[in-house]
Symmetry: C2
Subunit: 173 residues, 2 copies
């Protein structure tokens, strides 16, 4: 409804441009052949960037997570978008995800570390475990984002599971 009303508020030219943008988006946006992220270029901007460390791959479930990770300016590795997470109950088995493509990248380049950045829930966890079991025999370091207290959060209001994870993952000061 909000979209409909904002269209009605547009000038005819803007509505026209908007309609064309929608058609273009579907026509021009495709998957990067390397990392499977969405792009309108032949190879996406991250894979094409010579300053990015190609030996580190951050595995994410979708393109939105890539955007979130890119806000963390400190990350200088590349990505691999799985387009989903494992969820056998919903019929999402490994062959439905871009795991083959990840294995191909690992087999051809000298990948040093795979950082699994899937969500902190059952499916995300299962996906991380699956990848770890798949990649460890290839002598690749598989890591997972840390669980714990969000910066700025009051411990008082943290849920038990998070607090438990934060306790388990405590580190030397």
């Amino acid at each position: 409804m909000r979209m409909a009303f904002s269209v009605l508020d547009m000038t005819p030219e803007d509505a026209d441009a908007f309609a064309r943008a929608i058609v273009d988006a579907k026509a021009k946006i495709h998957l990067c052949p390397i990392c499977q992220n969405l792009t309108d270029r032949e190879v996406c901007a991250v894979c094409d960037d010579l300053t990015r460390d190609k030996r580190v791959i951050c595995v994410v479930s979708d393109a939105k997570t890539v955007m979130a990770m890119e806000k963390v300016k400190e990350y200088r590795g590349t990505y691999h978008v799985l387009h989903g997470v494992l969820s056998p109950l919903n019929g999402i088995t490994p062959d439905k995800l871009k795991i083959k493509e990840l294995l191909a990248r690992v087999n051809e380049g000298d990948v040093k570390e795979i950082i699994v950045a899937t969500n902190a829930n059952v499916e995300g966890e299962t996906t991380a475990m699956y990848l770890a079991r798949l990649l460890k025999p290839l002598d690749i370091k598989v890591t997972r984002l840390a669980y714990g207290i969000s910066v700025g959060t009051d411990i008082e209001f943290a849920d038990e599971v998070t607090l438990y994870r934060a306790l388990q993952g405590r580190r030397d000061v």
Copy 2:
């Protein structure tokens, strides 16, 4: 206002009991001589519990954090309540906190690890650093709760600083 109206809704007996409870609370609740937590017993329930590991002390800023930590059933150590965090700008210097009392505990018992569970903000961090510098020469392991993604949170919606910490603190799967 909500308190006032709920008092008006009470029966005279309940209002009486409520008033007495308030007076009692101030009269009976005092600090546990060991961990400085609030208690109505001579020594608080945690310090008095023989099954708790006295060699591990979780340092918190206030009694509310003890309650949050106690919900994590897996924690079997003891606590130490500082009653605040370091904040020199607001006049909260080390002597205003229960740090002397913590040092006394460390000096007399065989404490193995101090887990600093202060909030993930500047004051909490400063307090953790201060304690680490104070306790490390005494050959005590000082750790800090892990920072990272809360369990159940979408990475997409995590703030940059948290994501950065989660990336820095990544662990092997």
